[in-house]
C-alpha cells in the first residue's frame, strides 16, 4: 500500500475523534470514585444512575420534547423544503431560504435569548405562554430542527427524478394526490433521517433549553451540565457510555438497513434492464 499523507491524517483524525469517547467508556466500569485512577472493574455506577430520580425525570422530559419537536420539525421542514424546491421563485422565497440556512450557524446563545424575549413579549401582549416550560422548549426546538430537516429533505428533493411526478400530473392526478402518492414515498428515507437528526439535536440541546425552560422542565443536558460543572463523576461516565452505545447501535442498524435497501434496489434495476 502506498503511503499517503492524507490517509495518515484520516487515521490520526479518527483516533482523535474516538480516543476520548473510548476512554470515557472504559472508565465508566471503574470501581473508584476517582474517575481517572483505575481501581478494578465494577458496574455499580450504572446502578447508581437508576437510583437518581432527578436524572430519570430529566430523561423522560427530554425524550418527550425530542419526540414532539422532531415530529413537528419533519412536517414543517418538509413543507419548507418542498415549496423551495418545487415552487421556484415565489414572492419572498429568498427570505424563506435565508430563514432555513441561518439557524444552522446561528450561535445558540443568540437563538436562546431571542426566543426567550419573544415568549416574554408574547405573554405580555396576548397572555400566552403564561409560564415557560415544556411547551416553550418544544416551540424553540421545533424551530431550529425545522432548518436541519429542510436541508436534509431539500437535498433529497433536488436530486430526485422529477419525471415520475410530472407523469402523474399529466395523467390527471391533483397536486395534492401527486404529493402524497408519489413525492412522499420517494422522499421517505430523507424524512426518517431528518426525524432522527432532529430527535438527537433536540435531545442534545443545552443552551437554548436553558433560556426558555421554566420550573419543572429540566432536561437531561441541564442535569448533566450542572453535574459536569463540578468536575468529573463516574455516574456521568456511565450515562455517556449508555448514550454512546444507543447512538452507535442505532446508526449502524440504520446504515445496514439502508445498504440492504440500496442493494435490493440495484438488483431490481438490473433485472428490469435485462428483461
Amino acid at each position: 500500500m502506498r503511503f499517503s499523507f492524507s490517509k495518515m491524517m484520516l487515521w490520526l483524525g479518527l483516533a482523535f475523534l474516538y480516543a476520548p469517547m473510548l476512554i470515557l467508556v472504559i472508565y465508566s466500569f471503574n470501581e473508584s470514585r476517582l474517575v481517572t485512577v483505575w481501581a478494578g472493574f465494577s458496574t455499580k455506577w450504572y446502578g447508581a444512575l437508576l437510583d437518581n430520580q432527578k436524572l430519570l425525570d430529566a430523561v423522560a422530559n427530554s425524550l418527550k420534547i425530542a419526540f414532539f419537536s422532531a415530529t413537528a420539525a419533519v412536517i414543517l421542514g418538509t413543507l419548507a423544503a418542498f415549496v423551495l424546491a418545487r415552487f421556484k421563485g415565489f414572492k419572498g422565497s429568498t427570505l424563506l431560504r435565508g430563514m432555513i440556512t441561518a439557524p444552522l450557524v446561528m450561535p445558540e446563545v443568540i437563538t436562546g435569548l431571542s426566543l426567550l424575549l419573544l415568549f416574554v413579549a408574547m405573554a405580555q401582549l396576548v397572555g400566552w405562554p403564561g409560564s415557560r416550560g415544556m411547551t416553550t422548549i418544544w416551540l424553540a426546538h421545533t424551530t431550529f430542527c425545522t432548518a436541519y430537516v429542510a436541508v436534509v429533505v431539500g437535498s433529497r428533493l433536488t436530486e430526485m427524478d422529477m419525471s415520475v411526478e410530472e407523469a402523474a400530473q399529466d395523467l390527471g392526478a391533483t397536486p395534492f394526490k401527486v404529493f402524497f402518492t408519489i413525492t412522499l414515498p420517494m422522499i421517505a428515507p430523507a424524512l426518517v433521517s431528518g426525524w432522527l437528526l432532529a430527535f438527537t439535536l433536540s435531545l442534545d440541546d443545552l443552551v437554548i433549553a436553558s433560556f426558555v425552560s421554566g420550573p419543572g422542565s429540566t432536561t437531561l443536558p441541564m442535569v448533566v451540565f450542572s453535574s459536569v460543572r463540578l468536575g468529573v463523576s463516574p455516574e456521568i461516565n456511565a450515562l455517556a457510555t449508555i448514550i454512546i452505545g444507543i447512538v452507535t447501535s442505532l446508526v449502524f442498524a440504520s446504515w445496514y438497513y439502508a445498504r440492504r435497501v440500496e442493494k435490493a434496489r440495484l438488483r431490481d434495476q438490473r433485472a428490469l434492464s435485462q428483461s
Binding site: M9, L34, A80, L96, D204
Partner: protein, 303 residues
C-alpha cells in the same frame, strides 16, 4: 359578492399559498421576529420588575413617548471587558477554524479517494460522534486534560514530568474542545464538494507533470473553494458564540462573548445589556452568515 369572489381568487387563498404560508409564518414568528424584539430590548433600561426591563413606548395623557436608551451600547464600548471578549472570541474561533481546516481537509480528501465501499463507512465514522451528546464529548476532555487526568498521570508514571502540566482551564483546552466538537462540520461540506470534483482535471494536471503538491494547491484546492468556505463558516460562526466549551474547558482568563452574554443574562439578570451584547455579536457575524447563505443556496440551485 364580487369583492368576496375576487378576494377568494387572489393569491392569498390559493392552496399553494397555504402550503407556503405554514412554514413561512412559523419561521417568521419564531426566528425573525425574536431578533426584532432583542433589538428593541437592547434599547431599554434595566428595571427591578417582571420582566426586568423598561418599556420603550409609553402612552400617557395622549402623549406617545418613545424612549430610546443608547446607554447599553455606550456601556459595551466603554468597558474593556466586552471589547476584549469580542476580539478574543474572534481570535479563538479563527484559529480553531484554521486548525479544523488543516486537519479536516486531508481527512476529507482521503475519504473521497477511498474505494466506494469503504467511503460510506468512513463518512459514518466521521459523523457518528456528532450524533452522540455534545456536552459529554466536551466532558471527556476534562478527564483527559486535568492535573490528575489521563495525560498527566501517564506522563508522570513514565517519569517524563515530575509535576502535572496545567492544561485544563486554559485557552489551549478551549482550542482542543472547539476543534474536537466542530471537526465533523468541517469535513462534511469538504467531502460533498470533493465528490463533485471533475477528476479529469486532476489527471490532466498530473499528466502535464505537476507534482502532487502542485496539483493539490493549484487544482484541487481552487476547485473545492465552495466547500472550504461552507466548512469554515459552519465552524467559525457558531464557535464565536460558543458557551459550553469556554465554560467547561476554559479558565477565568478565557473571555468569550457567548459566556459573557450568558453571565449577563443568568447571573446579573441584566436583560438589556445581554440583548445589546447579542445585537453587536449579530452585527459582527451578519456578513459571514450571509456569505454562508449564498454559498449554500448556490449549491442547492446547481444540484
Amino acid at each position: 359578492m364580487e369583492l368576496l369572489k375576487s378576494l377568494r381568487q387572489s393569491w392569498l387563498f390559493r392552496p399553494r399559498s397555504g402550503v407556503i404560508a405554514i412554514p413561512y409564518i412559523w419561521l417568521l414568528l419564531f426566528f425573525l421576529v425574536p431578533f426584532i424584539i432583542v433589538l428593541k430590548i437592547s434599547f431599554a433600561e434595566t428595571e427591578i420588575a417582571i420582566p426586568p426591563y423598561t418599556d420603550l413606548v409609553t402612552y400617557e395623557d395622549n402623549h406617545l413617548t418613545i424612549d430610546l436608551n443608547l446607554g447599553n451600547y455606550a456601556y459595551l464600548f466603554n468597558d474593556d471587558l466586552y471589547l476584549t471578549a469580542y476580539l478574543s472570541s474572534i481570535r479563538i474561533a479563527f484559529v480553531s477554524t484554521l486548525l479544523c481546516l488543516l486537519i479536516g481537509y486531508p481527512m476529507a480528501l482521503a475519504i473521497s479517494r477511498a474505494p466506494a465501499s469503504t467511503r460510506n463507512v468512513l463518512l459514518l465514522l466521521v459523523i457518528l460522534p456528532s450524533w452522540t451528546s455534545f456536552l459529554i464529548r466536551i466532558y471527556a476532555w476534562i478527564g483527559i486534560l486535568k492535573p490528575n487526568g489521563y495525560i498527566n498521570n501517564f506522563l508522570m508514571s513514565l517519569g517524563i514530568i515530575d509535576e502535572p502540566i496545567i492544561m485544563l482551564h486554559t485557552d489551549f483546552a478551549v482550542y482542543i474542545g472547539i476543534v474536537y466538537a466542530y471537526l465533523p462540520f468541517m469535513i462534511l461540506p469538504l467531502y460533498a464538494n470533493m465528490m463533485k470534483l471533475d477528476h479529469s482535471l486532476v489527471e490532466a494536471s498530473q499528466d502535464l507533470g505537476a507534482s502532487p503538491f502542485t496539483t493539490l494547491t493549484r487544482v484541487i484546492v481552487p476547485l473545492t473553494k465552495a466547500g472550504i468556505i461552507a466548512g469554515c463558516m459552519l465552524v467559525f460562526i457558531p464557535a464565536v458564540g460558543e458557551f459550553v466549551i469556554p465554560e467547561l474547558l476554559g479558565g477565568p482568563q478565557t473571555l468569550m462573548i457567548g459566556k459573557v452574554l450568558w453571565e449577563e443574562f443568568f447571573n446579573n439578570r441584566d436583560w438589556p445589556v445581554a440583548s445589546a451584547v447579542a445585537i453587536v455579536m449579530l452585527a459582527l457575524l451578519i456578513i459571514p452568515i450571509m456569505w454562508f447563505d449564498r454559498i449554500q443556496n448556490r449549491q442547492t440551485e446547481e444540484a
